[in-house]
Structures are given as structure tokens and as C-alpha cells.
């Protein structure tokens, strides 16, 4: 009975979307470094996914389809709030990493330094780097999600990692001369 397969398909789709939430949020945060904005982007992404449920022909493509929607939501955000119409302009954009007291403390930690460095990358590089490293998408999938050639994915990734390496060296804290000793506790 048709109604039954649609029931179960809808229910499964609903569950799959819920499972994707954390991963979408992680990437949205790595692009924006703004928790509230990342949350909004994910909410908008999931809402659009639900609305356009019928457009997903191959369920295996759900993951990259969701990240494509996230990419479009992110671009829309820029167009609306930063008056950037040109995609190239968006891809070259470097956001200001607004630090909180927590971040200030974290700057001495690797997490804060990496996030700070990623926030200074050009948007196009940041997107490629995070999709490859955080989501483990293949280069071909990233090309599809961001609607750029695979060659561009590779060159942006190279530039991103070179820049990241340099920035992490710049941001590295001064090493203490003292070496802490590991004590065995019996």
C-alpha cells in the first residue's frame, strides 16, 4: 500500500535529518565561528530539506545534499547581511574571529588557536578545508556541494593548509623553558 511506504519513508527521513543536525552544526560553526548564527543556519537547512524532501532522488546522496543546502543558506546569509552579491567576493571573505573571554583563555590552547587560524582563512578555503577534514567528504563531493571544479577544491585545500600551518606557527604560544615532569602515582 502506497501510504505505508510513504509513512515509513517520512519517518526514516525525519530520523536521518535529526542525526545530521550535529554534523551540520559543526561545519556551520567552523564557517561562521558564531554559535547562534550556526544554529540558525542549521535550522534553516533542515527546514529547507524538509520542504524540498521530494527533490532528493537518491537517499544515498542525503549527506552531500544537506551540505549543499547549508552552503546555499550560508551564501544567502552573506547576500542579505553583508550586501555581497558576487560569489567570488563571498569566497574571498575573511571573517573577524570575535573572541569571547572563553576564547581568550582558549588562545593558549590548541583548540582556540586552530579556530582562530581557520577564521582568518578566506571563506572559499575555509569551506573546502572543513568539508574535507571535519566531514571527510571526497574532493568530488566537495566540488558538488560548493559547485566548483575538483581542481579548485584541490588548489584551495593546498592554500588553506599552507596558510593554516603558517598561522598556527604565528599563534603558537611561547614555549616555557620548564619541562613538566611526569610523576608516577602509586
Amino acid at each position: 500500500m502506497k501510504i505505508l511506504s510513504l509513512f515509513s519513508r517520512s519517518h526514516t527521513f525525519h530520523d536521518q535529518l535529526e542525526q545530521s543536525r550535529v554534523r551540520l552544526y559543526r561545519v556551520a560553526y567552523s564557517w561562521s565561528h558564531d554559535a547562534a548564527l550556526a544554529d540558525d543556519l542549521v535550522q534553516e537547512t533542515l527546514s529547507k530539506a524538509l520542504k524540498n524532501y521530494g527533490q532528493l532522488r537518491d537517499p544515498k546522496m542525503l549527506n552531500s545534499w544537506l551540505f549543499s543546502i547549508l552552503t546555499n543558506c550560508w551564501r544567502d546569509h552573506f547576500r542579505q547581511h553583508r550586501e555581497m552579491e558576487d560569489i567570488d567576493e563571498i569566497e574571498d571573505y575573511r571573517c573577524v574571529h570575535e573572541t569571547t573571554p572563553e576564547d581568550e583563555h582558549a588562545q593558549t590552547q590548541i583548540v582556540g588557536r586552530v579556530r582562530g587560524a581557520v577564521a582568518r582563512l578566506a571563506m572559499g578555503q575555509r569551506q573546502v578545508l572543513t568539508l574535507v577534514d571535519l566531514e571527510e567528504f571526497s574532493y568530488a563531493e566537495v566540488a558538488t556541494i560548493l559547485e566548483i571544479p575538483v581542481g579548485t577544491v584541490m588548489s584551495r585545500l593546498c592554500r588553506a593548509r599552507r596558510a593554516l600551518k603558517e598561522m598556527l606557527q604565528e599563534l603558537a604560544p611561547v614555549q616555557s623553558a620548564q619541562i613538566s615532569r611526569i610523576r608516577r602515582i602509586k
Binding site: 502506497k2 510513504l6 552544526y25 560553526y29 590548541i110 586552530v114 579556530r115 593548509r161
Partner: protein, 244 residues
Amino acid sequence: MKQNDQGVSDEFLNAFVDDQLDGAEKSQAFDAIEHDDALKERVCELRGLKERMRHAYEHPPAPGRSAVKGRRFRASHLQALAACLLLSIGAASGWFAHTWTGMGGDKEMTRLLQSAQRNDVGAESQKFIVHVSSSNPIRLKTALDETENLLDSYRRSGRKLQIEIVANGGGVDLLRADVSPYAKRIGLMQEKYPNLGFIACSQTIKKLQGKGVDVQLLPHTGVASSALDQITLRLKQDWVYIKV
């Protein structure tokens, strides 16, 4: 591609650490790395960067309003889920029944499924809420056609049925006296089926009025505080939701 001192490009090494090389290329990479300490170091560096990236975003900060937003999203999520399927009885559309306990409401879903399987003939009155949000005449016609088909089919088989067509956005055009392409048909349907109701979204009406539009609804059209409120109410009452 930029070549380094060892003749191996950065792109190639990146592809190696990202596991993007095919078998032959991977073997070539392993051979090169095995015999070149500088390459080994570069690969380690790249892998280290990847690890640090993963570590840095493993636990992103939770949004400050996450608890509230989570709940709010769940509500809208369920509404959107209910609204995400297209009507198609025998065509390229879908049906979706859903109760407000939907998040994890597997028992309820099972009950609905079993009920659908049994077809619930004569068990209780079947209730459908049909949501129209587009002014596209084809969509509007589909909504009326399918509604009429359902009403006819239930009437013929002697089963009880209740249908409510709720309109918002462009769908309100269906119920506007001066705009509706189906005003006469709706009048006839209302006469023929007392178990059929039409409801317009007051939010949409207010928006139109704000733009200076004089909204005159068809006779016997109800007004809900909002289409979503009405849908939410009906879902809570176990109505079957159909989005056109």
C-alpha cells in the same frame, strides 16, 4: 601543480593524506614516502593539521539559546515535516499522517499504520486536513479534485469523513471571493458536503491588508489565528495531514 624539492606536489600529498588517490597512485606515494624522510615529514605535518582540525571542532560551543531553540525547532520541524509531503492519491504525491507526539512517537505511528492497514472501516470518523499554500491554479485544482475524490469515495462506501482545507500564503487566493478561480465550485462543494470546511489564515489576511488589499472571503469560510496553529491543533487531534 606546484612541485616541491622532491618532485612531489603538495596537491598529491594532500590527496594522499585525504585518501583520494587510486590504488596505483597510493602505491607510488608509499614508495616515495618510504625512501624520503623529507616527504615523510611533510605527510606527518599534513596529518597533524588534519588531526588538529578535527580536535578543534569536535565540541563546538553550544548555541546560547540551544535549549529554547531546540524545542522551538522541534515544533517547527514537526510542522515542516508534516508539510513536506505532496498530495498524490495515485499520482506523484504523498500522504503523511502524524501526531503531535511524533518525536519518538513510534507507538502512535505504529497505531496509525495499523489503522491505515485495517483501513478503519466504520471504526471512527476519518479526518483530513488539507494544506494549500500556493496560488498556483494547478495546485488549487489538485486540492479540490483530490478532496472531492476522497469525499465521494467515503460517501459511496458509507464511511464517515471530515475534511478541512486550510489556506495560507498564496493559497488564500482559493478562498478570496474576488480572486478565487474556483469560487463557484467551492460553493457547490460546501452545499454537497457538510463535512467539508474551508479555513483561511488570519496572518496572511493581515499581511494582505497591510499592503492595502481588501480581502473578501468566500461565504462560510472560517478564519484561524494562523494556518500552522490550525494544522498543529488538528495534528494533536490525530487528523491526517495532506500538503498540496
